[in-house]
Symmetry: D3
């Protein structure tokens, strides 16, 4: 199945920690990858984002899914 989610980074699990209901999975990303961020045009303009800028892609842990073959 192909997914609409644009961002998929390959890695290896470093640690699995289980709570009562939740689990925390730490993944070491080693291959380079391309990420698409959808933000408001207003933010893009406020930060003056343009090709070549050094930036940081930030994601809350609750937003990350795990896929496994």
């Amino acid at each position: 199945m192909r997914l609409s989610a644009r961002n998929s980074l390959k890695g290896k699990i470093e640690k699995v920690e289980l709570g009562a209901v939740m689990a925390s999975i730490k993944i070491k990303i080693e291959e380079p990858g391309l990420i698409t961020a959808l933000i408001t045009k207003e933010s893009a303009e406020a930060l003056e984002l343009k090709t070549g800028d050094d930036v940081v892609a930030i994601v809350k842990s609750t937003e990350i899914m795990v896929g496994k073959e």
Copy 2:
């Protein structure tokens, strides 16, 4: 300011595309990084996730923020 968001990957902007309200920012991630995914314990068990597994971290574009110095 320090942020609670655990996941922050350094990269360079490859493309900025502006819509009427939204903007799409493509970021090339080149440095390795560590990502934390919070999923249900049930999913972690169903996928039998364990240290050393090859996995993919998947994120919807709308969940990604951009930070710039």
Copy 3:
């Protein structure tokens, strides 16, 4: 109160599981419903999405809210 969230599926709770901070609520959806997914135009084109396609709507559990009368 009317909500901007477009997706609301009626169901019955099958199981409630409590952790220390989080709770997992399993809901059996029995009535048909209409769901709106907002994705990138790029994804819609890459998957060649068009009227009549059989697809799957996928949502992370942390993104689902529960409403009760």
Copy 4:
């Protein structure tokens, strides 16, 4: 590939609408399905959620991904 995302509802696309950057995909869900919502224990207790309750699962459109074979 198996996904950690617990919620996947089968349907048929009713309408595709393209913006400059975003696309809106309307999906008719016809088969019954089981959904897992992760909410705070505090909310589960405040709403007195229990097995058998009639509830509504609510999701913002930006949180829904589309999968296609």
Copy 5:
């Protein structure tokens, strides 16, 4: 209907901007309110969060819903 979402801040719309598919709604929050943030225990410990700390609650615009009577 009562909602599991814990965070609800009253305000007045300052501006509505329509795109092709999306709309941006600016809301002036004037009443004080209580917000619950669910983060990883690891983050809470890394930031040494404790009662009385001055902090900032940060939310991506795509995560905010609007309710109207």
Copy 6:
């Protein structure tokens, strides 16, 4: 570092509660602030949102990050 996330409300922590994997942070917001909600144009039209409307900004707790100097 400047962030693309448009919504940042200043407050004081009222309570920190730790689970096995997650933490719940209650923040009292006391200063007024401006919030941007990105919703579908369809929702904006269905709710007839316009300048001056009294509305409620609703956010799921899992979507809120915490920043601390």
